[in-house]
Symmetry: C2
């Protein structure tokens, strides 16, 4: 089929908000280049929105293209670009798009992490493409590299900074010394955090992305409910300072790890804040940038860095997918479908192997270190370093003995053993307070 002789490919856009308006504008502005790269012309046949009345003067298209009837629109498209978000009615729209033979490009991490297999099954059944590069880390090409470029390798670990809001907040806490609550307010005033920042700061957004990354990296179905999730709301200025003292920064990490066990391989998928050395490639990711660090047997260490959100960066990833699925319609063929053949078990958090950094406020008297060390030993947790520092007088003052700060960094151990250790430490009468507990990554 040549560009001149073929009927234009019909593209339907579902949603015209932050991302959708960028997609529409770039489709129009770059239409010549896109057609040349696809090898065929295309036509934007409609844009589904919720509110017809909203001002859309920034979107340079014929206003008659806007419609609230998304269901009718998908039935007359070759390619459906979905940037509405959410689970319903989006899932139904995408299933009916595929049923009527359209290929789908989506940025919807929530839906993919909730119910990817249903969408994949539909794309297989109807022989159409389902692409979603924009769903993880915005403009950064990461899904295609994991799915295709590394398809001949054995990925052992993926660690991502995949949420720009939380990275912005943690980076500002690091540079200013301020606490979580006030920094979130700053982020909100600058447009880096939403009025309701729950999805970001509680780690839901990162958990959806972790599920998608793990599924692709390990050829195993992982959904968001299998991802252990801790947000950054409990991260204190003291935690950040403790990290700084050991040359580290605190980042919210999406960690997908292949685990070798005597009873066979498994995967651990989790989102939590962790200390990471400033010298680690992820340690210097500032502001709202995203980055994904990948370890594979043959490739070694790789890192992918760029903008994780925003209208244009996200639209860049979407349009790359649009060109590829359009090429398939012109030249035949299909992208890789779901690959879940490995079907590895997903471990509970307690079985994940992690390292802890623990700061304790202890009584400054002989035997304290021995008691603390014994607690670690009882839980089979081995200590990498201990640092003891005088100071930290008892808060209630006068007759209480002078205190000291004890900072312990452990070797890797099962997370359950580490958290049981922390609980037992808190119960020791020589430990006045567990000041900070944070996992450590990136050794």
């Amino acid at each position: 089929m040549s560009a001149s002789s073929s009927a234009p490919l019909r593209v339907a856009l579902l949603g015209c908000g932050v991302v959708g308006s960028s997609v529409a504008r770039l489709l129009v502005e770059h239409s010549g280049d896109l057609a040349a790269r696809i090898g065929a012309p295309f036509e934007l046949v409609g844009i589904a929105v919720r509110r017809l009345g909203r001002d859309r003067s920034d979107v340079p298209v014929d206003p008659s293209l806007f419609t609230t009837d998304a269901a009718a629109l998908v039935s007359r498209a070759d390619i459906v670009v979905e940037v509405i978000g959410g689970i319903e009615p989006t899932r139904d729209l995408l299933l009916s798009a595929m049923a009527s033979g359209a290929s789908v490009v989506s940025a919807n991490k929530a839906l993919l992490a909730e119910d990817g297999p249903t969408l994949y099954a539909a794309s297989d059944r109807h022989g159409v493409d389902l692409y979603y590069e924009a769903a993880v880390a915005g403009a950064i090409p990461i899904l295609r590299p994991i799915r295709d470029s590394l398809a001949g390798d054995r990925i052992t670990k993926v660690i991502g900074i995949v949420n720009g809001t939380t990275n912005f907040v943690l980076d500002k806490m690091d540079s200013t010394g301020a606490g979580f609550a006030e920094t979130v307010e700053v982020a909100q005033s600058l447009g880096y955090a939403e009025a309701d920042p729950t999805a970001d700061v509680e780690g839901f957004d990162a958990a959806a992305k972790a599920a998608i990354l793990a599924s692709l990296a390990f050829h195993t179905r992982v959904d968001i409910h299998q991802v252990h999730r801790e947000g950054i709301t409990e991260v204190t200025a003291a935690d950040i300072a403790a990290a700084d003292e050991m040359g580290a920064v605190v980042k919210l990490l999406a960690i997908c790890e292949r685990v070798s066990r005597p009873e066979g391989e498994a995967v651990s998928v989790r989102v939590h804040p962790a200390m990471i050395p400033r010298t680690h490639p992820l340690g210097s990711v500032r502001d709202a940038f995203n980055a994904v660090f990948v370890e594979a047997d043959a490739a070694g260490e790789l890192m992918f860095y760029g903008r994780g959100a925003g209208g244009d960066p996200t639209a860049s990833a979407i349009l790359g997918d649009v060109v590829e699925v359009a090429r398939h319609r012109v030249n035949g063929g299909r992208g890789a479908g779901e690959s879940a053949y490995a079907d590895l078990p997903v471990l509970p958090m307690g079985a994940a192997s992690t390292r802890y950094h623990i700061s304790l406020d202890v009584a400054d008297r002989p035997g304290v270190l021995a008691a603390v060390a014994a607690t670690f030993a009882e839980h089979d947790v081995s200590i990498e370093t201990v640092r003891q520092r005088p100071g930290a007088p008892g808060e209630s003052g006068d007759d209480e003995a002078a205190g000291a700060t004890l900072v312990v960094v452990t070797h890797r151990a099962p997370d359950a053993a580490l958290s049981a250790t922390v609980e037992a430490l808190g119960a020791l009468d020589t430990v006045r307070e567990v000041v900070s507990v944070m996992r450590v990554e990136g050794e």
Copy 2:
């Protein structure tokens, strides 16, 4: 076609040196995973080498697979993996492989940069795939992201550290203060530089990669002879020290730039050492690592980082390509062919827009700065900063007047104007020596 019912895909390996032996080993070790990901089993049907007698005990295959008859081998393969290198007989072998219907995966940057269009034309004519992710930046997925992920965007700049040997040498010069010649010897003794390091240190290897990157990024044919090339043999410890003083490091960069001119767009493609700020994402790429920095209109700034060479990392990229072309043979379809529709002119170096950092040893007397500044003005080059520092006594000592060092950093200007300025500065009688001239990138 299902994995169980189909005849195995026949894979032929041409070459079994550094890269080929890793490819063979990984094909064997990961055969189960690879077959699952392809959706069909495959068979390694032969390995072409030059010397049958060589010890290959590290390659876990049936020794009867080795052959010196590469031509016969390619005629009985579905997928030909080429890791011989060089122009001939490789080109002929690949053309006959494609003519007999095989898809090709190659790591041969020299051949692709010399004569990519001939290979592309053959792949189009015979409807087979031609993939070469491993040819640029080893394990780092960079060609697929540029060709596919960014296919909907407008790339404006690609700057790569794409040669590990030169990055290792420059990084060591930076950390030790040593000169070029002795550092190359260290690199050789550690296996980071070959006995004859010409292809690396003179920038030929990087120039081939620049041609490949520019062709894909700008949809324009660029061959290695159109790439302006300067190596690192003239980089001195003084250059490195001068960079350090302004918070920069010297890197050998492969720069591919889209240039807007009144008469239409063009591209500039060049390889040369340049100072780049330590805070730039490329500034912290140490040792023999590679990284490619990409700027695109919608995506913004992206960076890709990892190992650029070595048997296993290169084999990782090759096997990713093998899986993808194999999937095409199982499911139908083909990867994107050559895209050269934009056909932009490639500018000569003199027309490239660059910035210079110039250190001058000048006589310490009134009027020197005025004369120097006038020389820049005459060539229409505007100065960003000037720093003057006493010291640098005349080399011949006694009766010569005390000298001073003048460090000038320019704004962007045509490279021809900058180099004419440097020549004119050298002719000023107040300038005793042009101590260091280096381009500056990454503002």
